[in-house]
């Protein structure tokens, strides 16, 4: 993978990987500042604003705009995530000029018609209602609320019926003005395109955007804090076919010297699919769950180490006790040399599998670019992982895997909880 650092004629820097085996290209782009910048009373604004970019631009109303995308086989998605507004543009090389035309039209001349706004807001509300029916969503909502307390990361990305009702078209316009500019833009181009072609297209896409953004600053989230302590259990009572259990521990920053070691520990504990201790011992050996796993979430302004499992109600107490015991074992005894070696090999080599399509490669590179990595990060990453020793991994396990720090959310009807655990009851969220 040869990542070229490019600067367009109009001064927009981007990364390019030329890949001429299939006549397609992917342009992935992002602006910093996503859901996190929504005012609390207007939660859902970033998602609504990005959705409105697909509702017609210039002379094209929503049907005409989406019809032209479809007729040229252009896939264009723009969505607000926690930290960013992210876009993915994918088309046959032959259709790229049209794809660029339509995308830049959406970014610079969105129509923002009242009818489309009302309809798009209703769609967002409908998807919120569908999400709220999911016990998994309910658990994640409580977990984020508890971990991030008053920080914007506790906000609901899609908003609520109440907050959506307060958002008007002017708010969407203000959002575009503050967020969609050239100084907070990140672009990656992968595919059947020459360097000169790519430069021209990047200029056509983004050259007309304002120079400067005015994205509100987001403070760093500190967890645990006095407002949001660790070590609690929260229980949303619900009669269903199972109990959802989600948990969190403090995480680690992706710039931290412990980052690679933490990834190795995570892989061995619960990130490594069938190879992880959690899947091996809780699923394979005991048949307590279909899926159990963990993931390190390193965000722009805060970090958390999360895990989840779905369990039969009457197995919740046993499974929680067992997993707590496993954390204690990792905390005290650490990993084995074999486990560390296996994790390193997997983490180093499996990345290749994400790079086999132009879209996969573009997304991996954009994620790196957004987290401040250099274009040559692939080699740096490999070296960083290779350098992790058993001793370093064990030191990280000792520091981070503290059974007493675990914050748990249960959604279900377990008949009992592990000895000594008292749960704080919370309500099923329905608005």
């Amino acid at each position: 993978m040869n990542v070229q650092e490019m600067i367009s004629a109009r001064g927009i820097s981007f990364w390019l990987v030329e890949k001429h085996d299939v006549p397609v290209a992917s342009i992935h782009f992002a602006w910093k500042g996503g859901v996190e910048t929504d005012p609390p009373a207007q939660q859902g604004l970033a998602k609504l604003a990005t959705a409105m970019l697909m509702e017609g631009a210039g002379d094209l109303d929503a049907t005409a705009f989406q019809g032209q995308l479809a007729d040229h086989g252009i896939s264009l998605n723009i969505d607000a995530t926690r930290d960013y507004i992210q876009g993915q543009l994918y088309a046959l090389t032959a259709d790229m000029p049209k794809a660029i035309d339509l995308t830049q039209l959406a970014l610079t001349k969105p129509r923002l018609e009242a009818e489309a706004f009302t309809r798009t807001r209703a769609q967002q509300l409908s998807s919120i209602k569908q999400s709220m029916a999911e016990p998994d969503w309910q658990a994640r909502y409580r977990l984020m609320q508890t971990v991030f307390g008053g920080h914007p990361y506790a906000l609901r990305g899609a908003g609520t019926a109440t907050t959506l009702a307060t958002i008007g078209i002017d708010d969407v316009k203000t959002f575009y003005l503050s967020h969609i500019a050239r100084d907070n833009l990140h672009v990656v181009v992968v595919g059947d395109m020459t360097a000169d072609n790519a430069k021209t297209m990047v200029d056509q896409l983004f050259g007309a955007l304002p120079d400067k953004s005015t994205v509100p600053t987001v403070p760093q989230a500190t967890w645990p804090s006095r407002e949001s302590p660790t070590g609690q259990t929260i229980w949303v009572k619900r009669k269903g076919a199972q109990t959802i259990w989600q948990w969190a521990l403090p995480g680690v920053d992706d710039d931290d010297p412990d980052w690679f070691a933490a990834n190795v520990v995570n892989y061995v504990w619960g990130g490594g699919g069938f190879s992880s201790r959690l899947m091996q011992e809780v699923r394979e050996e005991q048949g307590l769950t279909y899926g159990i796993g963990t993931g390190l979430s390193a965000m722009e302004h805060g970090n958390v180490w999360m895990g989840k499992a779905a369990l039969a109600d009457d197995k919740v107490s046993h499974a929680m006790t067992y997993v707590q015991g496993m954390i204690a074992r990792l905390h005290q005894g650490g990993l084995t040399q074999d486990e560390v070696d296996g994790a390193k090999t997997y983490l180093i080599n499996s990345l290749m599998l994400d790079l086999t399509s132009s879209r996969g490669m573009a997304q991996v590179l954009l994620d790196w670019k957004l987290s401040g990595r250099a274009a040559g990060y692939l080699a740096e990453r490999t070296q960083g992982l290779q350098a992790v020793t058993l001793e370093h991994a064990n030191r990280v396990a000792k520091k981070m895997l503290d059974p007493a720090a675990m914050l748990s959310v249960l959604v279900g009807s377990p008949p009992s909880l592990p000895p000594g655990v008292t749960a704080k009851e919370a309500l099923w969220q329905n608005e």
């Binding site: 032209q68 007729d71 086989g73 209703a122 409908s126 029916a133 899926g291 296996g342 599998l353 399509s357």
Partner: protein, 434 residues
């Protein structure tokens, strides 16, 4: 601008196809995807091949294929793959069960040795088999029992196929899954798993000769067996109204669906290709359903259409919508039926048919930007009665569909009495009464 996908790519993947002496079909698609390979083995057996009373057995066996063999311990298969930096998994449907790994191409021989091993050497030990049954029951709880929309989908399917085994859930009915025995798993494995009932697809950084030689050395050593014929009961034409309703306390957003049972590809291929074009036309976000019902009449929040003909037996054509907030399900359903009837009467314009065809044909190029696409395309085709040529000629077949055929397909769909309507409702709402 017109695009000549049909002319520039008369074929899609240009595969290399071999059949080993023992009957295993080997398909190789070299591609420039980096130093990696996708290794996929498909068996021509799925949930629709289970006997009465043993629903869920095909999927259960899929799980058990990761247990002890003569050379591997339980769970070791996936561990070896991961330790080499690869990914592996498996999936089961009505007509097939497939196993795959994506991994550095240098590790292909190891993958073939292990996959060929479990084709013939699975031990199915009592304790491992029974523990995994609990896992499958947990999977059912997660996917279906605890999800009102999935429970509705399962009941719609069971009501649409009242006699053919497509009416059963792939994961099985809970009361039967919990009683599946070690002996049933062994019998199913012996009855269906063997080289002449399987299709191997290898794509990525490989050469056909090397793959065939490796296959010969691994899979090639497994003897041919007598694979059973896939005989399934056919459904009657039912003309009674069938409406299924799930009401649930957790549901806030009502949803509606209608599934039609349609002629299998096998029985009328041209009709099936026309249905594929019709599905693309109707599901287009700029097409008549979304434009009229969502944007103009505002009776729905969203609507989607889907034709699924990729089966050995009957296909399905389905519609799903979410009614607008202030609109009753009844009114939204009426608006949908009226629009579909109007479309059938007026006919789809030739230009719309051409546009839908070109949208579909582009997918043949996009498919080459994916390591696993050849595996999915050929595996699915060859386990559902199709040939390699059916995959390679797909763009041309789609290109040959005429507006008359699309309109005939639409009229036939509107007049088709074999359908089931499903409603997902909050506990407080009453179902639609006509």
């Amino acid at each position: 601008m017109t695009i000549a996908v049909t002319n520039t790519h008369a074929s899609v993947f240009n595969p290399h196809v071999t059949t080993l002496d023992n009957g295993l079909t080997v398909i190789v698609v070299p591609s420039a995807s980096g130093p990696v390979v996708s290794h996929m083995l498909w068996y021509k057996v799925g949930a629709a091949d289970e006997r009465d009373g043993e629903t869920g057995l095909a999927h259960y066996l899929e799980h058990l294929m990761f247990k002890s063999t003569k050379t591997l311990k339980a769970g070791e298969f996936s561990k070896v793959v991961a330790a080499l930096g690869g990914e592996d998994n498996a999936f089961t449907s009505y007509d097939y069960t497939a196993y795959f790994q994506q991994i550095a191409s240098a590790e292909l021989p190891r993958m073939m040795t292990m996959e060929a091993g479990r084709m013939n050497d699975l031990l199915l030990k009592d304790d491992e088999v029974l523990t995994e049954r609990d896992v499958v029951l947990r999977e059912r709880a997660l996917r279906t029992d605890d999800d009102p929309a999935a429970r509705l989908g399962e009941t719609v399917q069971a009501s649409l196929f009242v006699h053919h085994p497509y009416g059963r859930p792939v994961i099985g009915w809970g009361h039967e899954v919990e009683k599946l025995s070690v002996q049933q798993a062994r019998d199913f494995y012996r009855r269906w798993y063997g080289p002449n009932n399987a299709v191997l697809v290898v794509s990525g950084d490989v050469t056909p000769d090397a793959v065939v030689a490796l296959a010969q050395n691994t899979y090639g050593k497994i003897p041919t067996f007598q694979a059973p014929a896939r005989v399934r009961a056919a459904d009657p034409v039912l003309t009674a109204d069938r409406r299924v309703v799930v009401k649930d306390k957790d549901v806030q957003q009502p949803q509606w669906q209608r599934h039609y049972r349609v002629t299998p590809w096998r029985d009328d291929k041209e009709h099936s290709y026309a249905m594929e074009v019709l599905g693309e036309y109707l599901n287009n976000p700029a097409g008549p359903l979304v434009d009229q019902l969502v944007r103009q009449q505002k009776v729905m929040v969203d609507i989607a259409a889907d034709y699924d003909g990729r089966n050995l037996d009957d296909g399905t054509f389905s519609f799903t919508f979410v009614p607008a907030d202030n609109i009753t399900m009844h009114a939204a359903e009426d608006a949908f039926e009226k629009l579909l009837a109007d479309l059938a009467q007026k006919g789809v314009a030739a230009a719309d048919v051409t546009a839908a065809i070109q949208r579909l044909q582009r997918n043949a190029v996009f498919a080459r930007d994916s390591l696993m696409a050849p595996g999915y395309a050929f595996g699915l085709a060859l386990t559902t009665g199709r040939t390699v040529a059916d995959v390679e000629q797909w763009p041309a077949r789609i290109g040959a569909v005429t507006p008359d055929q699309v309109n005939a397909a639409l009229r036939q769909l509107v007049a088709n009495p074999s359908f089931v309507t499903g409603e997902l409702l909050p506990a407080s709402l009453s179902p639609t009464v006509h």
